[in-house]
């Protein structure tokens, strides 16, 4: 589902929540996140959504401003403890 950085970040983080939950983990067990956005200028926009999902004591994270495939604006990869 394409959209704004805000809408895509919400969708991605909601899906990540589901994936982690189905594997017996959760957002609070995240260790490292690579957050990829299509343009560095949207860094604060990403953060505004991201803060709503990650707990206190958030995971290590690096934001990569890169070209993302298929016209998407946000892509995440994540490592969590089980």
């Amino acid at each position: 589902m394409h959209g704004t950085v805000t809408s895509e970040a919400h969708r991605v983080l909601q899906n990540l929540t589901l994936v982690l939950k189905s594997a017996g983990s959760s957002l609070s067990r995240l260790v490292q996140v690579h957050a990829m956005i299509y343009d560095r200028i949207e860094y604060d926009v990403l953060n505004r959504v991201y803060r709503q999902y990650v707990p206190d004591g958030p995971p290590a994270r690096t934001v990569w401003s890169v070209q993302i495939i298929d016209g998407f604006k946000v892509q995440l990869d994540a490592i969590a403890v089980a």
């Binding site: 067990r29 260790v31 490292q32 996140v33 343009d39 560095r40 860094y43 953060n47 991201y50 803060r51 990650v54 004591g57 958030p58 995971p59 290590a60 994270r61 690096t62 934001v63 990569w64 401003s65 890169v66 490592i79 403890v81 089980a82």
Partner: protein
């Protein structure tokens, strides 16, 4: 038995950029036997301010701060297993490498280098995974 998850912070609080700038990440996380550090940019350890300069300068400052960060957590540069280097321009690859070699003279970790957009006019950002303790 779930793996332990613990937040890592530098002993020098001026280098705790995410806390000082209220960003939504931790400096690092220890998970079991591994330490995962967030991407680090060049910061002056005596002021906590960003320290912009050449690729050589920024690489040296970041790796020096990374050493402090890892040693604060009981690890070291020698125990790094994977590094990701983000460069503002891949044309500067060799300028980064020249300094990088001084920090990893023998048996360097696995590494990937990418050319990406960076903020605030910074030229280098580096993150790593290391063995704990």
């Amino acid at each position: 038995m779930p793996l332990a998850r613990e937040i890592i912070a530098p002993k020098n609080e001026l280098l705790n950029v995410s806390r000082n700038l209220k960003l939504p990440h931790s400096p690092g996380i220890r998970a079991g036997d591994f330490i995962f550090l967030s991407g680090m940019v060049s910061v002056d350890p005596t002021t906590g301010e960003r320290s912009l300069g050449t690729v050589a300068h920024e690489t040296r400052q970041i790796l020096s701060n990374m050493r402090h960060m890892l040693e604060s957590a009981g690890s070291s540069l020698e125990r790094v297993v994977k590094i990701n280097v983000l460069l503002y321009d891949m044309l500067e690859f060799e300028n980064m490498n020249a300094v990088y070699r001084q920090f990893f003279p023998t048996d360097p970790p696995a590494r990937t280098t990418c050319g990406v957009q960076l903020s605030f006019g910074l030229k280098v950002e580096i993150e790593c995974i290391a063995l704990a303790g």
